[in-house]
């Protein structure tokens, strides 16, 4: 059955005014097809997805258009009528499965209430069907899972349960709202496979909402790009990624860091911030940020025009973009960097170890406390002017490592040296000088910035401390303005409070503050993961420029392999608290690589529909660092598992001539041979 939104508009009431959130959106969803809805935060994609279910917050209304489920129109149905549609004919799989499941009900109760309600099954039948449904999402021990409470399942398992439940009534439309965003990339790969395979075998139309262009490219058949609540472009997926005609789509695609890009190239950025919808003018909604904007764009809103019968775009200049007459790439302006100085280390970490003891006093006395081995035997060098990336999934210990280096959670054992000088593991014994030379930029700038201090105060204070250390006096106000300028913010920002800034602006302020201390090394813990991709590009470019200007070094911690490969010249891959591989970006990304790295690369969805993603999948969950597997910590999930040797013996570190290290029982040559052979097979 075809599901359609025709000219749908949604308004929000803010104060006394109605503000348009979604304007004139038309979508057509067909059975067995996956339609992607892409947009950044504030684009209205989730509002639109929920509006298709006629589920709106109390201060919102549908102000125009219609929603068709086959030949039934939904916008006029009563709540009681909608209750026969919800869960039965349209089902939702939301973003965060743990929050979307009721914490105090068993999985069985939550799955069976749906089928009992809509299909009229008895308790026994419903349970039987739940088992079947779980089997279809590759959960073999359904009995076990049914008895569990949500928090007892891993994230991937929770999301499978959500999908199984959503499909249990064979709905006409399945809406997946960022279903893998909360998951690790290896788990995401497994869930995406599952969605692909299950959807094709059902007679269901799918709307897949995501901000992740890689996921969209690998999964969807057709794509709609949403911006400011309006459709910018709609096309089949290959067309959209290969020949986009809307400047926003073009910008979005070019702002993704690609691992094969020249490491010194800049990312395309979309300057400015998402539009405030409070004043929807008659201009093109993208005009303020568009590189191709002309006078007409500010005066008249372009219509959604057909490029051909499958492709539509809302832009006055799409024909020119299509024919290549408008140049949308920014000039490459970055100064050529001095090459990293391999032999002058800024930071040396040797055999760092951090264990946590869990449990209260009572547990400790009775010996029941468990020891979490968060970081073990980590050795790492950061050279001058270089960027070292640490990648790992949740539970890999990468954040613990960062916090141990800056001594927020001091390490138990090991050595840290800054510029060749050993420094203390604990914060209190570090000198002010050391603290200034080693700065941390947090993942979430909201936590890092004091809401009661203006931007000027935050940066100024760091500058004053620096002056005190250096025994001098400078014009703080002037230097704050310089710092702001360096991160691309106007001097007026000095008087603003963090609450008046966007996420990207806050992160720029946090970076400016870190640089204000004139550091030698900046440790950035997931510096962009709270930001949209177009804003991420701005921050990544900024970090690169600042490095070239000041000669600072970075240690970038991230879950995003692509980003790290793009930013860093040296990469360390962590699994369960250990570095399993490290080497130059090219070495780590190439052959040979550690079986875990190989799986990680294989799991990353490539933002190009013509490139088939990797096929290596990791099954099972990441073991808890509380009960770390013996021998090689990866042996429980390793696709290249050799045998008992992996279980019984800690693998040696294999080192190549240029310092590429892999911790595995296979030698580098053996790994290279295996991986080359597999790659040939795949072609």
């Amino acid at each position: 059955m075809v599901v359609e939104a025709r000219h749908l508009s949604i308004d929000y009431r803010i104060g006394r005014e109605w503000v348009s959130a979604i304007l004139d959106v038309t979508l057509k969803l067909e059975p067995r097809r996956i339609h992607g809805l892409v947009g950044e935060s504030g684009s209205g994609k989730t509002t639109l997805a929920l509006a298709l279910m006629r589920y709106l917050p109390p201060n919102a209304r549908i102000s125009g258009g219609s929603i068709w489920l086959g030949d039934q129109e939904l916008t006029h149905l009563s709540e009681a009528d909608m209750q026969r549609v919800w869960g039965r004919r349209i089902a939702l799989v939301p973003q965060n499965p743990l929050e979307a499941l009721n914490p105090t009900m068993t999985i069985a109760a939550q799955m069976t209430e749906l089928t009992r309600l809509h299909l009229g099954l008895s308790a026994e039948q419903a349970r039987q069907q739940a088992l079947d449904d779980l089997k279809r999402v590759n959960i073999a021990d359904g009995e076990q899972v049914l008895r569990r409470y949500p928090h007892q399942l891993s994230g991937g398992m929770q999301q499978r349960v959500m999908i199984a439940a959503a499909l249990s009534t064979q709905p006409d439309l399945l809406i997946l709202d960022e279903p893998t965003t909360a998951l690790d990339v290896t788990t995401q790969a497994v869930i995406l496979d599952l969605i692909r395979e299950r959807v094709r075998s059902e007679n269901t139309a799918v709307l897949f909402v995501s901000h992740n262009l890689g996921v969209i490219a690998q999964l969807c058949d057709t794509v709609t790009v949403l911006y400011g609540g309006e459709v910018m472009e709609t096309a089949p997926v290959e067309r959209l990624f290969a020949r986009p005609v809307h400047p926003y789509t073009v910008g979005l695609l070019q702002s993704i860091p690609k691992p094969d890009a020249e490491s010194e190239a800049r990312l395309m950025t979309i300057e400015g911030v998402a539009p405030s919808l409070a004043h929807r003018t008659s201009a093109c909604v993208f005009a303020d940020r568009c590189r191709a904007a002309v006078e007409r764009c500010h005066a008249e809103k372009p219509p959604l025009e057909a490029v051909d019968d499958v492709h539509q775009a809302r832009c006055w200049r799409w024909p020119e973009v299509q024919s290549g007459q408008v140049a949308l790439t920014p000039p490459i302006a970055t100064a050529p960097a001095d090459p990293p100085q391999r032999d002058t280390p800024v930071l040396q970490v040797r055999q760092l170890q951090k264990h946590f003891v869990e449990g209260g006093l009572f547990d400790r006395l009775t010996g029941r406390a468990s020891r979490v081995r968060a970081v073990e035997d980590v050795s790492l060098h950061v050279n001058q002017r270089s960027t070292v990336g640490v990648v790992g999934e949740s539970g890999s210990g990468k954040t613990t490592l960062a916090r141990a280096i800056v001594a927020l959670d001091p390490a138990d054992q090991g050595e840290i040296a800054l510029l060749g000088q050993p420094i203390s593991l604990t914060l209190r014994q570090r000198s002010a000088e050391t603290l200034g030379r080693l700065r941390l930029v947090f993942q979430n700038p909201n936590e890092a910035l004091n809401p009661h201090h203006t931007v000027g105060q935050a940066i100024g204070r760091t500058l004053q401390l620096l002056d005190k250390r250096r025994g001098r006096q400078t014009d703080i106000r002037k230097r704050v303005a310089e710092m702001l300028q360096a991160v691309g913010l106007a001097p007026e920002y000095a008087d603003r409070y963090p609450s008046q800034l966007s996420g990207g602006e806050k992160q720029r302020v946090a970076i400016a503050r870190a640089f204000a201390a004139d550091p030698d090394l900046i440790i950035a813990d997931e510096p962009t993961s709270a930001l949209d991709v177009s804003v991420q590009a701005v921050i990544v470019n900024l970090l690169k420029d600042l490095r070239n200007q000041t000669g600072v070094s970075y240690l970038v911690i991230s879950h995003d392999l692509e980003l790290v490969v793009y930013m860093a010249d040296w990469i360390a891959v962590m699994y369960l608290g250990e570095i399993v591989e490290q080497g130059t970006a090219a070495d780590v990304y190439g052959i040979p690589s550690h079986p875990y790295t190989e799986a990680l690369i294989s799991a990353v969805p490539v933002p190009d529909p013509t490139v088939k993603g990797g096929v290596i999948r990791l099954h099972g969950d990441v073991p808890s660092p509380r009960s770390k597997p013996s021998g090689c910590p990866f042996h429980t999930r390793c696709p290249r598992f050799i045998g008992s040797i992996c279980v019984e013996q800690v693998p040696p570190v294999r080192v190549s001539a240029n310092g590429h290290q892999i911790r595995c029982h296979y030698t580098l040559d053996e790994l290279a041979a295996l991986q080359t052979a597999d790659r040939k097979d795949a072609l």
């Binding site: 279910m53 589920y55 709540e79 909608m82 209750q83 026969r84 549609v85 919800w86 869960g87 039965r88 089902a91 939702l92 939301p94 965060n96 929050e99 979307a100 499941l101 009721n102 914490p103 105090t104 009900m105 209430e113 749906l114 309600l117 809509h118 409470y149 928090h151 007892q152 009572f362």
Partner: protein, 315 residues
Amino acid sequence: MIAFIVRRLLLLIVTLLVTSALIFSLTQLLPGDVARLILGREATPERVAAFNRQYGLDLPPLEQYTRWLGNFIRGDWGRSFAAGNAAVRPIVLERLNNSLLLAGVTLAISVPVAIFLGVIAALRAGTWLDGLISVATLSVVGLPEFVTGLVLINVFALGLGWFEATALIRPGYTLGQWVRVLGLPALTASFVLIGYITRLTRAGTLEELNKPYVRTAILKGLPRRIVIVRHVLRNALLPTITVIAISIGWLIGGMVVIESIYNYPGVGGELVRAVEQKNLPMLQAITMIVVLAFALANLTADVLYTLLNPRIRFR
């Protein structure tokens, strides 16, 4: 779970031991000579000595304590200093009985009303009904018990004559007589509790209503009533249930004001009297009971919370 309860019970025993020692040393510090106070200024030295010997007050403090503790555990709670020298235990147990009765009735009145009001207020958040409930419960919380007590007495006892103004309890009461006696004290205590519990329930329910799992439940197509009853309430009432359990301690040991307004023979009133009379055996026994009540109430709260919350039960 069992390990948890055993652990908490062990902790409870430690708490009781510590409190008993504390109470004991405090009673040692009470100003004035107990014997003279009880016997009067004109008592002869011989009578004072005899009194001290009778109650063991001439022994060294540590020995007094261990002896008292041993006796207390064995069930011999001593004899009252007050006139009649009655045994302490039957008196305390009778008071405890009365207090438990009052606590039970109070809970039976206040809990259903408060939860109902709180849930309605949350479901209708922002409407006039919510406002009305908020204002009413807030003002009830704000009023001191003696004010509500006096108003209730004037209206229902002296005015309408539905209830007794003073709560004299005699054996062999019929149900109707019990209601007339217990009604006003229970109502007054309920007012305090309803105020708290309603606000807590409202806050808890509102918080849960905004959680994503509620949206999941609604978008399953479940009728709203089922969404509320099956999904929301259990989570929303978790904090409420804990507070109710904890309040049992207050209902037993802390209702001094209400008991004195109505002359209700409960534990709280007796405690005050024991202090006034420097009636040490009575004071010690009652304090132990009150501490026990508070500790058990807390334990119940924790056990309930754990039982109802699978996130803690299956960690």
